[in-house]
Amino acid sequence: MDIGELKQKADLSYDISVAKKNALERAVSRQIFAYNGHLFRADAQTICLVKTLSEQKDSFFVLDTNNNPCEIKEPADFLNKLIERNQETLNAYHQINKEFAKRR
């Protein structure tokens, strides 16, 4: 492989890395959603917390993205929405990731 080709590969690798970072940021920002007047992130941590608490209690409090307490009166509904949003964003990220893999 000559130096020109190496440079081309390195540039491509860099471009993919930036695009991947942007795509991940997009996925993370899409995970933000409003529930009961509060903002939450549909990330793994929130899902695990809500799942664990919902196994113990019918209603409970969690903190939103600005650390305000929010009472969750319908845990199943909240959990469904969290999982739905989480998987929707990660599925979109997965599709982009597959395209990046092809370009390498």
């Binding site: 540039d11 471009d15 942007n22 933000i32 600005n66």
Partner: protein, 249 residues
Amino acid sequence: MSNGVLLFCFNTETCEYYRIAERCVELIKKNLKLEITIVTNLETFKKLKPLGMLNYKLINNETGNKRGKEQWHNLDRCNAYDLSPYDTTILMDIDYFPFTNILLEYLNINDDFLIHDKIHDLTNKDVYNFRFNSIIPMLWATVIVFKKTSRAKRIFDMVKYIKQHYQHFCDLYRVDIRNFRNDYAFSIAVNQVNGHIQQKFLPGKLPTLPGIAKVLKINDTGVVFKYDDKINYVENQDVHILDKELTNV
């Protein structure tokens, strides 16, 4: 309860901002489907093409601020609270392009004033490190979501006061960028109104294409840009674009 987007748009001698506003309005209509009010002056209003059902507020904008050697008409944003006809307002720069509907999430919340405190540089160059340009954490006034509450009004009134005495506040907070910047004015106002403690912010980061990135193409879903001889794109993601040459794209 009414919701809407408030935009400020004033042409300068060097930039036809109305062209940027036209693109922005199209995306708001497509992705946010909210009522829009544009605050502008008569000169800029005459240049805007018919954009359908929009509200216009014509004002004589304040002038005098500069960015480099160019005019910078950014002195009227502190009047957004008074000018907004909505109960909940998304106050947005016209160079923020909403390629998604993510801003709609911020309309259904209890908080009455939210602003970004984090930024994401889409070129991955991390050109936005202002930590050493002042002693106050920088906020980004590109997108502000506010409700008509007394607290939100206090913040906007404080920005008006800071604008009047801007050099004093620059000294107080050791802001080393001396021309008037809304980012700093709102950072200081939020800090003052909250009794010098942290407040609530918009979650997520403000996705931004810095000035070093030149926009090559914009379509309905995203932007193709060039920087350092590299070409990249973002799709289905909101973008704040600083390259004003995009008026020619």
